[in-house]
């Protein structure tokens, strides 16, 4: 991501009224295209104002890249029109699937980590890139269950990146959540990644679900201290932009600014060495 630097923030409709050229602005925005493609009349101007002041990266939800279904060509055309209109150069999605047989679950479901999946995803990544005329970045997703697989997550991600040529959106919170739920060392996971494959980083909050005994990736809470520590460690290993996600229980822009500044300070300190 040559044109994106520093610390980003997820643009949520709750922030729109607070955005001004003289107020707080992150270094860049991340936007969910599915939430903005069909734009309420009164939000368009404010959305365009936000993107006028800062560059944006798109982070999608509905591509379902791992599905055995064919890609939704109409959806891709809509995405391309939207990206072209707003000058969005970078598009990331999840290494998972959410739709099958034409039906949507709207949840990121875990993929079988197999050669067959790698081939399918790699082929679809290439098709997406051709149709959108821009690179696709893939995010390591959380998973609470491992479908029948023949390799580890780390190997699976590495092979998908290798076969597809896609870059990685490294979600540090997802690494932490998965490490607790599946008992592995998150620091060793970070160590095993090749920094040149990482495009940017996500950081978010999660929920400790006592009933299931699992950590759940909710994006609805403040980032936990353990995740900040893992982010700090990760940033020492790779010089890439980082972005704060909040999708549920979205606070005001003024409130999330505090958490953003924490991330920015951490980022700046690591960069200074």
């Amino acid at each position: 991501m040559n044109t994106i630097h520093g610390c980003g923030l997820g643009l949520r409709r709750e922030f729109l009224d607070e955005i001004s050229a003289h107020g707080f602005l992150p270094d860049w925005w991340e936007i969910t295209p599915e939430n903005w493609i069909v734009m309420p009349y009164h939000r368009r101007e404010k959305f365009e104002l936000a993107l006028h002041h800062r560059k944006a990266v798109a982070h999608g939800l509905s591509l379902s890249i791992g599905s055995t279904d064919a890609l939704d060509v109409d959806f891709l055309k809509t995405l391309k029109t939207f990206f072209d209109r707003y000058g969005i150069e970078h598009y990331s999605e999840h290494l998972s699937y959410s739709a099958l047989g034409g039906a949507q679950s709207y949840e990121l479901l875990p993929l079988p980590m197999t050669e067959e999946t790698i081939k399918r995803v790699a082929q679809k990544v290439k098709e997406v890139q051709e149709r959108l005329e821009r690179p696709l970045i893939l995010e390591n997703a959380t998973y609470y269950y491992i479908p029948k697989s023949t390799m580890s997550e780390r190997e699976f991600i590495g092979r998908v990146l290798e076969e597809s040529g896609a870059k990685l959106l490294l979600d540090v919170n997802n690494v932490f959540v998965n490490s607790v739920n599946h008992s592995f060392d998150p620091y060793a996971f970070i160590d095993s990644l090749d920094a040149k494959h990482v495009s940017y980083i996500h950081v978010a909050g999660h929920y400790d679900d006592k009933e299931s005994g699992l950590l759940i990736d909710t994006h609805g809470r403040a980032v936990r201290e353990e995740v900040w520590k893992l982010l700090s460690y990760t940033l020492q290993k790779m010089d890439v932009p980082v972005m704060l996600e909040r999708d549920n229980y979205v606070p005001t822009l003024a409130e999330i600014q505090i958490e953003y500044q924490h991330m920015k300070t951490l980022y700046t300190e690591v960069r200074r060495g």
């Binding site: 734009m39 309420p40 039906a103 709207y106 479901l109 998973y143 609470y144």
Partner: protein, 225 residues
């Protein structure tokens, strides 16, 4: 993949020895649907039995919509429940129209408005944002017991960026209804016949209401003046 997908949607049961992690996906999917439906239909969520609504959404999840835009799911649920009638609420259709119209109009992009003073001398049309509905329940006042006949006009106010609702009488409803597909004169003629009055009498009767609607942008001149 299909087997796990079906289980996550609740279409088929988990095996007895299924892991907690496997089962949690069913809850996550259901939560996702429940959240978006209850946010779009807050009055429905507050008035319907929580248990019944939960069961209806669970059944709806199994047929899973195909739209990649999750905000459209409540409309799919409305259409599906209209047919299935699992909730067995006589006012369901009216209430969903009332709640969904607000979202539908908010999510559309309308041309800028040209507000004018009403006059019978020029040709008018109904604004693209206008929605008309004959209701059997006064859902707009959260009254769900007494059945009757009410007429509702909804439109999008560009300046305030809100969906507006106004209860109107049957004559105005009919006139607006005709005007959506007919010329101004044809609409006036038809509504006069239905009300069994002269066109001049009908003009007098409708003038204040139409003037009000012209100022609100509900009626706009066919050609910009």
């Amino acid at each position: 993949m299909q087997d796990f997908f079906d289980k996550s949607l609740g279409k088929s049961p988990f095996e007895k020895n299924a892991s907690v992690g496997e089962k949690v996906y069913q809850e996550l999917v259901l939560h996702r649907f429940t959240e978006v439906i209850s946010q779009a239909f807050p009055i429905l969520s507050a008035t319907a039995s929580g248990e019944d609504l939960n069961e209806a959404i669970k059944a709806f999840v199994k047929i899973a919509p195909s739209t990649p835009y999750i905000w459209q799911v409540p409309q799919n649920f409305w259409e599906w429940e209209q047919e299935k009638k699992l909730l067995n609420l006589p006012y369901f259709d009216d209430l969903c129209w009332y709640e969904w119209t607000e979202i539908e109009l908010m999510m559309e992009v309308f041309e800028p408005l040209h507000v004018n003073t009403f006059s019978w001398e020029i040709e008018w049309k109904v604004d693209a944002s206008v929605r008309l509905r004959e209701l059997s329940y006064r859902v707009f006042e959260s009254e769900f017991k007494n059945k009757g006949q009410w007429f509702m006009l909804a439109w999008y106010d560009r300046d305030k960026a809100i969906t507006c609702y106004q209860e109107i009488d049957q004559v105005l409803y009919l006139f607006m209804h005709y005007l959506q597909t007919m010329s101004f004169q044809e609409s006036l003629y038809n509504v006069s016949i239905e009300a069994d009055v002269s066109e001049q009498e009908m003009q007098t009767y409708l003038f204040d209401a139409l003037n009000h609607l012209a100022h609100k942008g509900v009626l706009t001149p066919k050609e910009i003046l």
